[in-house]
């Protein structure tokens, strides 16, 4: 059977990374420098990668999004864009765990570590993170966590940390045993999981798919300004 042609949308962080792959083979890739407006470039990047790959959108087998966690707004830009293509061209939607994709890429770069901890910046001293062992089995669930020096207590080292939240975490781990692997989210890293999901036929509902937000909207309810009658 021919390997699927996949459009890959990675918008969980400030990098907008769009790729197209036939099976494991990357046929086209466009990545923004950090801080570019995803909404301004995403469809232009999609057009560009399809041209690099020499395929029309109608030839795609599925659209793949990075599921999060990450920036709510940029995840939604990716999800809304994916839904438009899926709806217009009747294509299935696949969603890939962003942190796991980073952990896999991190292990490829630092194969000897005992644990892998991808981190996505969630502002201030908070990150979205999960912990994986040397076989990339999940040790911690995906969660929002405030960074602290003792967070890796009891975790076998060396631990590799990576992702947009890792640089700010590094000063906490001066005692060693923690390696920083410089790695940004990329559409390339979605391929392996996307193929698994494709072969499992683990498709998302195009109408009701939502990214992994992890938290409810932050809402403060104002106090009444006059005493209730």
């Amino acid at each position: 059977m021919r390997e699927p042609l996949l459009l890959l949308l990675e918008t969980a962080t400030e990098v907008c990374s769009i790729g197209v792959a036939r099976g494991r083979e990357l046929l086209g890739l466009q990545e923004s420098p950090p801080g570019q407006d995803h909404a301004a470039i995403i469809t232009l990047y999609i057009e560009a990668v399809m041209e690099q790959a020499g395929h029309a959108l109608a030839e795609l087998d599925a659209i793949v999004v990075s599921d999060g966690p990450g920036s709510y707004t940029s995840l939604r830009i990716g999800a809304a864009t994916a839904k438009g293509i899926c709806f217009a061209l009747q294509k299935p939607l696949l969603a890939v765990d962003t942190l796991q994709s980073l952990a896999e890429a991190c292990k490829a770069l630092a194969p000897g570590c005992r644990a892998y901890c991808p981190m996505i910046d969630a502002r201030r001293m908070e990150v979205y993170t999960a912990l994986f062992d040397e076989a990339l089995r999940r040790l911690w669930d995906t969660q929002a966590m405030v960074l602290r020096a003792e967070m890796f207590q009891g975790v076998p080292n060396p631990v590799a940390i990576c992702g947009s939240g890792a640089a700010k975490a590094l000063p906490l781990f001066a005692q060693g045993g923690v390696h920083h692997i410089s790695l940004k989210c990329s559409a390339t890293y979605l391929i392996a999981q996307a193929l698994n999901a494709w072969h499992r036929q683990d498709f998302q509902d195009i109408a009701y798919y939502v990214p992994m937000y992890l938290k409810p909207p932050n809402i403060t309810i104002p106090k009444p300004r006059i005493s209730p009658a």
Partner: protein, 334 residues
């Protein structure tokens, strides 16, 4: 040759899609968001999340109701702004990827221009030049309309919108959001016997923030003397507040008509559903010899038919945008 426009609106808390064929509305679908009722106002992050879940079903419904298939659509029109950035982004991103996938042109539409365009949905069509008072939860302005797409604001609110004044009053009175319709209903059982000051704003601009504060002080003063004041006087308070908001609006609209000499006058936006505004507007029309226009209720509140209508006029002009277009939270129509 027939022209079919798909319109998409996501500027605030309603996800909407509509089909307009040759200037006629073929479908007009809206998914509202109940979640904001709990919080007494629109929560931007909650609105953005709901848009992402509503957009596909709403567009699908609009296509089905119109009996139109996606490949028959000639262009995609979307609200670029003004509105909530997170909400706009969902509609804009979806519209762009639809346009890319279908290889159709994209048309950006200003939400305020579209409110005015809702007057072109049904006959009788206004003649140009026309004045339009657009009043909603987010906007209050008087616009001179010289053609379908050629319009300029003559005056607008310097702070709160008129609909916001209703909602904030509702909050003070413990009336559930959105408060406008309930205040209107209660007001019909009351007398406008409490006087609230009229803001002194030069020209054709509006201000509602001072009114809001004076309502707050009025209620604080009276509930201090009588804790049951609101409960005992709710219809009269509603009638008084509504009367004041509407007279502020009408005074400026009459001033605009006098200054420009224009006698074709329309209202648009969610607050144009208000019965007191409709009554005073019709009366002023009779008294001053205006031809008055009020869109159907479904075109007054936020909707996508008005986006598709404005998109249709832009399509005829070949007024398309490139794919690097991004939403604008603030966007004046000129």
């Amino acid at each position: 040759m027939s022209v079919i426009i798909l319109g998409i609106e996501s500027s605030c808390d309603d996800t909407a899609a509509a089909i307009v064929q040759d200037g006629k509305v073929r479908s007009n679908c809206i998914a509202g968001q109940e979640v904001h009722r709990l919080y007494g106002g629109v929560v931007p992050e909650a609105a953005s999340r709901a848009h992402l879940s509503h957009i596909v079903p709403v567009v699908q419904q609009a296509m089905e109701q119109a009996g139109v298939a996606l490949h028959q659509v000639d262009a995609i029109a979307f609200t670029r702004g003004p509105g909530l950035m997170g909400s706009l982004l969902v509609g804009v991103s979806f519209a762009k990827s639809l346009a890319l996938s279908l290889q159709r042109p994209l048309i950006e539409v200003n939400h305020l221009l579209a409110h005015v365009a809702s007057n072109f949905a049904d006959p009788p069509m206004p003649n140009f030049p026309m004045l339009c008072l657009t009043v909603s939860g987010g906007h209050t302005q008087i616009v001179q309309v010289d053609d379908y797409l050629d319009m300029r604001p003559l005056g607008q609110t310097l702070d709160d919108a008129a609909g916001e004044a209703f909602d904030k009053t509702g909050k003070l009175l413990g009336i559930e959001y959105p408060s406008g319709p309930l205040i209107d209903r209660l007001a019909q059982q009351g007398q406008a016997r409490f006087a609230f000051p009229e803001p002194q704003v030069p020209g054709l601009d509006f201000s509602f923030s001072g009114l809001k504060t004076s309502i707050l002080h009025f209620l604080q003063k009276h509930t201090a003397a009588n804790p049951d004041f609101v409960k005992q006087n709710l219809p009269d308070i509603c009638a008084s507040v509504q009367h004041r908001i509407v007279t502020i609006l009408m005074r400026k609209l009459e001033m605009a008509a006098a200054q420009t000499g224009i006698r074709e006058v329309a209202i648009a936006g969610g607050v144009s559903a208000n019965s007191e505004l409709r009554r005073q507007f019709q009366q002023a029309g009779q008294r001053l010899g205006w031809k008055v226009y009020i869109p159907r209720l479904e075109y007054c509140t936020d909707n996508a038919a008005m986006i598709a209508l404005a998109g249709y006029f832009k399509y005829l002009r070949g007024d398309f945008v490139a794919h690097d277009v991004t939403p604008m939270a603030r966007w004046s129509m000129v």
